[in-house]
């Protein structure tokens, strides 16, 4: 071995070393600790005491409601968000004057990046007794309850994640060759048929990327169900906060965490395979 490659290798090692330290000590080791703890027992005063038992996993059904809520509402909310985001992305990518496109897109994205807690809090007010239900009662539709129902969580999810769903769909629609739409029309296809046979299939990679992003964030969400579900519609995230910060049952909480991550990775794995099979692309825009 000559000196040059050895030196080059040393440079490479130095470049990645700081990142490696973070990955090892703040990701791998802590995640391993979670796995180890998930086989332990709750210490009498809370926390962890060493043991080897599967009880925590066998006991997962005790938090079954959180899993059921998360696994039904997260996919449903993702689907709804995609449905509401698509026309918006289409409008921005196809209908709007190119001069204004980026500005209008940034305006869609901006809310996601700011004051999340306060924005959901505002929805508590808007959906609560003195908000929209009161206005509905005024026009004659009385006794509508939205807050603390699955509906509130769904509305909140569409509101919260639309800013993340629109950009990837926008990107895939913007690249779409408009001549394909004209060709389809020239060949006598109705606009609806053109949409389902040309536009939608070509925009699918964007929909897939956006949906995955939103799904991942929803699966681990805490604030949205906490505020808009009001403790009645709760997710795995709420169960975790309760287990770690209130009842301090670390081993059981660890088992719930392991289950959450496992479910996520399995879902993402199959989803990716399905999407790759459908669209044949591998692009994943993360921001």
């Amino acid at each position: 071995m000559t000196a040059a490659p050895a030196r080059s290798r040393a440079v490479t090692a130095l470049l990645v070393a700081p990142a490696a330290v973070f990955f090892v000590f703040l990701l791998i080791v802590p995640l391993m600790v979670v796995v180890v703890f998930s086989f332990g027992e709750r210490a009498p005063a809370g926390g962890y005491s060493p043991a080897f038992t599967f009880d925590n996993y066998l006991n997962l059904a005790a938090r079954g409601k959180a899993f059921v809520n998360t696994l039904t509402l997260a996919p449903l909310a993702t689907l709804l968000t995609a449905i509401f985001a698509f026309p918006m992305a289409y409008f921005l990518a196809v209908k709007v004057d190119p001069k204004w496109r980026v500005m209008l897109l940034v305006l869609v994205m901006a809310p996601f990046w700011t004051s999340q807690l306060l924005r959901y809090y505002a929805w508590i007010m808007l959906l609560g007794g003195k908000g929209i239900p009161a206005w509905l009662a005024y026009i004659g539709i009385a006794d509508v309850r939205i807050i603390n129902t699955p509906w509130a969580v769904l509305i909140g999810a569409v509101y919260g994640f639309l800013p993340l769903m629109v950009p990837p769909i926008y990107v895939s629609l913007e690249k779409l060759d408009k001549r394909l739409l004209e060709a389809s029309a020239d060949l006598g296809a109705t606009p609806i048929r053109t949409f389902f046979q040309v536009t939608l299939p070509l925009a699918l990679p964007g929909v897939a990327t956006g949906s995955m992003l939103v799904f991942i964030l929803l699966m681990g969400d805490y604030i949205l169900p906490q505020y808009l579900g009001g403790g009645k519609v709760f997710f795995i995230g709420n169960a975790l906060v309760d287990l770690f910060l209130q009842s301090r049952n670390w081993p059981f909480g660890a088992a719930v965490s392991v289950a959450l991550v496992a479910i996520m990775f399995v879902t993402i794995f199959f989803y990716m395979r399905f999407v790759l099979g459908k669209t044949g692309t591998r692009r994943a825009a993360l921001v």
């Binding site: 703890f37 306060l118 809090y121 808007l126 660890a254 996520m264």
Partner: protein, 268 residues
């Protein structure tokens, strides 16, 4: 179509208008307008709890963004030079860091480090009479972990889009590797590094759930907002929220403009 878009903007900005409106409301009741007033801004910024939380959050976000931008960029550069299984391991780690939910990052950091500190604190106390605890620095560490991954992805995407011939030209002109890096590579990467910096800053400034687990006795702004919402919010919080909102809107537009410029220089 246009009507739909307008409705979506109203949907997205109604709660924000609600916050901004609340901050200028003279009364304390959220749903009742009692005249225009700036008093909540004065109250908010003379409330030591709020200013302290704001300072803590700014400190955490700035440190996180700086560290993530540097370490993430270095990692992206290193990864480009790596090959084989080690590179795959690193790629996998980057995706794991991004995919694992924030709440699990918070939990795992909490239980791993609390257990570790419990283990070593007795020795530290007998030896030097000090002890280590969770706190703002743990929040920074956990935020940096996530944002290294984000910055590395951003910078690497740009490295791969970069014209190799520029580097070769620089080498042909007898520039040292470091010179090439400083004068050719770094300026080309600058937009994505800056965008990564801004993303890391906003992420860190906004994060509630990780900080909630690992901040120990320290209070960040989102933690303060969370606890005051629990106690019953005052318009003070709306005032702070409005300031934060405007600041991040400006930062976000700025990041977008920078990225746009950047991709244009890359093409020419």
């Amino acid at each position: 179509m246009r009507l739909y878009a307008i409705l979506i903007y109203i949907f997205l900005y109604a709660p924000i208008a609600f916050i901004v409106g609340g901050s200028f409301n003279a009364g304390k009741q959220a749903m009742i307008w009692q005249g225009f007033s700036l008093e909540w801004y004065g109250k908010a910024f003379s409330n030591p709890l709020i200013t302290e939380a704001l300072t803590t959050s700014l400190m955490i976000a700035l440190t996180t963004a700086t560290l993530s931008a540097i370490i993430g960029t270095l990692a992206a550069l290193g990864l480009e030079r790596m090959s084989g299984w080690l590179r795959h391991v690193f790629d996998a780690l980057i995706y794991i860091a991004i995919l694992v939910p924030g709440i699990v990052i918070g939990i795992s950091t909490l239980i791993a480090f609390v257990s570790f500190f419990d283990m070593i604190n007795p020795y530290l106390i007998t030896a030097w009479n000090i002890r280590i605890e969770m706190g703002a620095w743990m929040v920074i560490a956990a935020h940096v972990l996530f944002n290294i991954a984000v910055v590395a992805l951003l910078v690497r995407a740009r490295l791969q889009g970069m014209d190799r011939s520029l580097v070769e030209a620089s080498e042909d002109l007898y520039a040292t590797p470091l010179g090439t890096f400083r004068q050719v590579v770094l300026p080309l990467l600058a937009p994505s590094i800056l965008a990564g910096f801004l993303l890391a800053f906003t992420f860190s400034f906004e994060d509630f759930i990780i900080a909630y687990f690992v901040a120990g006795p320290d209070v960040t702004l989102p933690i303060y907002v969370f606890s005051s919402i629990r106690r019953g919010i005052t318009p003070e919080i709306n005032a702070v929220g409005t300031v934060v909102l405007m600041t991040s809107l400006v930062l976000l537009v700025l990041a977008q403009v920078i990225l746009q410029r950047g991709s244009r220089t890359l093409k020419t």
